[in-house]
């Protein structure tokens, strides 16, 4: 399986589709523990990403993800903008000059992206943020390498999202709620599930293609 800028486009288009469909779900999750804008933020950002990348051709994965990251940074705002933006900028830095990447290379790039999120947000796993989805996913990607089963990815992301429900938020707006944050899913973890699900779907398409 190899992943190129065309795959990247598919990924972003799929992500945007989900985000537009689930805008209200994300907003409702954020209304419960935050300020109710996460759906709007994601919808604005990924729509703009799709608008941008649609018109352009990309030499390599680096320039592609850099465009994605910069677009998110300059259109999303809030907490999720810098975090998702940083993640894609880190992917870009790792994949600079590569026309395509295989699973182990992608895994390493995601690992750098996760570090970027954690550095920017100063959050750890367990703080009830998107890190609670990203960290186990990255660990899994690194561990499985070429052996990755895409269904595992989607299932794991979903599982980890569910687990945020019982967490007491330490970072982000939900932290202001203290114990009252327990019992609610983290909105950024939910949008991260969409992101990895869209990613898994693209991988699955590629693998199916290769096998046929």
């Amino acid at each position: 399986m190899t992943f190129d800028a065309a795959c990247g486009k598919q990924w972003m288009i799929a992500m945007n589709k989900t985000v537009q469909e689930k805008k209200d779900v994300l907003t409702e999750l954020d209304q419960a523990v935050g300020d109710g804008d996460h759906g709007l933020n994601m919808a604005r950002g990924f729509q703009e990403v799709v608008n941008k990348i649609d018109a352009n051709e990309y030499e390599d994965l680096g320039s592609f993800f850099s465009e994605v990251g910069m677009t998110l940074i300059s259109t999303v705002g809030g907490a999720s903008g810098p975090l998702y933006g940083t993640a894609f900028i880190k992917l870009a830095a790792q994949l600079k000059g590569r026309k395509q990447a295989d699973l182990p290379v992608l895994a390493a790039a995601f690992s750098a992206a996760l570090e970027g999120i954690k550095a920017r947000g100063r959050a750890e796993a367990g703080d009830k943020t998107m890190v609670d989805v990203w960290e186990p996913i990255v660990t899994h990607l690194l561990k499985r390498g070429e052996l990755l089963q895409v269904e595992e990815l989607t299932r794991l992301a979903q599982e980890k999202l569910e687990e945020t429900k019982n967490l007491h938020a330490k970072k982000g707006r939900a932290a202001y709620l203290g114990k009252r944050s327990i019992g609610h899913l983290d909105p950024g973890a939910a949008s991260s599930v969409y992101l990895f699900t869209a990613f898994a779907d693209v991988l699955k398409g590629e693998i199916d293609n290769e096998q046929s």
Binding site: D35, K171, R173, A175
Partner: protein
């Protein structure tokens, strides 16, 4: 949702156009951005002050742009931190070579976006300092968490740091006095009704006909607890009590007090709240040097208020008294 708007997704853009149309001598908009700067920016020989955050808190922040307060206000979408490119544009527009102070309210999003903007500015050789306002005592203070939110006390930071900058203080001095205000200002709020982000189309939370939320933030984020509605006196006592305790104020100390309306609360009610706050301060033998009652940092059309107390020393008193010339604070 009943709002005087055209398109829920264009409210910030249209508001900014309205502000500039209304006050062309005071404010100008940086083309293609959501940044409003004082019309004579950059001011030679003066540290630039940039503040901002999500929209929906009007008159914050554009209402404080002008001589003696801010040089620029950056507006994000409603309740959403502005992006680094916008903040960076503001920094460049107000830097006269003496450096720029960013006044940031302590929300993860604001902190990260302003930090990224500061990194961009520093990369271009602009001296940037940041202060982070965290006056909301409703939130547990802890180094393990995000810490406390910045709410209405931010306006005192604008005022006092702005006065220092106007008097020619260096970036370090302006930063230091801003941090002094931050160390000495505490607030707490409450809400009677929720508010609706235009693009979301429905209220951010619910309150029963007889309920209020104590410790409410300024974004419709839930507060400390929902309780039955109490009298203005009980509410004033609850808010003021927690603020005073946290400030650990002593007899004869001098303060400035702000009773801030969150958007839909009549001035009449804010003064009724202040009546009790004044009585409590008198009981505690705390001196009130000046009082500000009105809408300074709102939360769209939320009904409710916050109480802010700032401990004043001589330096802060003098700087608070320097006239400013902004839309709201003169």
């Amino acid at each position: 949702m009943k709002k005087l708007i055209n398109d829920p997704n264009q409210v910030v853009k249209e508001m900014l156009e309205g502000i500039v149309a209304a006050h062309p001598r005071r404010l100008k908009q940086l083309p293609g951005t959501s940044v409003l700067v004082r019309s004579d920016a950059p001011v030679e020989g003066k540290v630039g002050l940039v503040s901002g955050g999500g929209s929906g808190h009007e008159p914050s922040h554009a209402g404080y742009v002008g001589p003696g307060m801010l040089d620029a206000a950056v507006s994000g979408e409603v309740f959403t931190s502005p992006t680094p490119d916008q903040i960076f544009a503001a920094i460049k527009a107000v830097d006269s070579g003496k450096g720029v102070l960013l006044i940031i309210k302590n929300y993860t999003g604001d902190v990260m976006n302003f930090e990224m903007a500061a990194e961009l500015a520093e990369a271009e050789g602009i001296a940037v300092a940041k202060v982070i306002v965290n006056d909301d005592v409703a939130v547990e203070d802890s180094t393990y968490t995000t810490g406390r939110r910045g709410i209405a006390g931010t306006v005192f930071v604008h005022k006092i740091a702005g006065a220092a900058a106007e008097q020619g203080a260096s970036l370090e001095e302006v930063e230091a006095v801003a941090n002094k205000v931050i160390a000495n200002v505490k607030s707490m709020g409450m809400a009677l009704t929720p508010c609706t982000v235009p693009a979301a189309g429905k209220p951010g939370f619910e309150l029963g006909a007889n309920e209020m939320e104590i410790g409410m933030g300024i974004h419709g984020e839930p507060g400390i607890e929902k309780t039955e509605i109490k009298t203005a006196e009980d509410i004033a006592a609850a808010l003021c009590g927690k603020v005073l305790a946290d400030l650990d104020i002593k007899e004869k100390e001098k303060t400035a007090v702000m009773i801030n309306g969150l958007g839909a609360t009549p001035l009449m009610e804010l003064y009724i709240v202040y009546k009790k706050v004044a009585a409590l301060l008198a009981e505690n033998k705390v001196e009130v040097h000046d009082t500000f009652v009105g809408e300074y940092m709102t939360s769209l059309e939320m009904a409710g208020c916050s109480v802010t107390i700032l401990r004043l020393d001589e330096q802060l008193t003098l700087l608070l008294e320097v006239p400013a010339d902004t839309l709201v604070w003169k």
